[in-house]
Homo-oligomer: 107 residues x 2
């Protein structure tokens, strides 16, 4: 079984976390995880190529914004809210407060 | 005289602001502007090529994080704190609270 890399809480970098959040799709992933809790990748039904979505999840995971665990054939994602709140107090709350639902372009 | 583009407060995008802040050099520029007030570009004596610094200032300006005005031969930069606080309450404070002084690599 392939193990996912997750940075230790002490190794989280503010710049990396902000960079990871600095994209509309990744912001929407974070907003949905914050409101809906742990979700499989398949729950994010954006009009975006699967490989692009995988890239976004990897950026968020490697920055320490989310945790990914495997259960059967699913990858389940959850926000690392406690780690983020401890390292960067108030940051995630401020981001979530200002994040508005994303609209995919109409086909 | 060349005028600098500055987005209107209503046009600030959370993702663009987070992206602009998601770089160690740009974070340090923002931290210094927050603690020292308006500064000329020359005040930022980082061990970084001038063209790279110009790029960082442009990313911050075009995202609406800082304002740049010309005075004589100088470009004076200041944080758009009020605009940012109005659009994204608590965000800049949370970022500044967690931002630590950057150390340039030793030569």
């Amino acid at each position: 079984m392939r193990l996912f890399y997750h940075p230790h809480p002490h190794d989280l970098s503010l710049a990396s976390v902000l960079y990871a959040l600095g994209d509309p799709v990744r912001l929407e992933i974070v907003r949905l995880l914050a409101t809906q809790g742990e979700q499989p990748c398949a729950a994010f039904d954006f009009a975006i190529a699967k490989s692009t979505m995988s890239h976004h999840f990897r950026v968020l995971r490697e920055a320490g914004v989310l945790r990914c665990r495997k259960e059967g054939t699913q990858h389940l994602n959850s926000l690392r809210r406690q780690d983020l709140d401890q390292r960067f107090p108030g940051l995630l709350d401020a981001v979530l407060q200002s994040a508005t639902p994303r609209r995919d372009p109409q086909p």
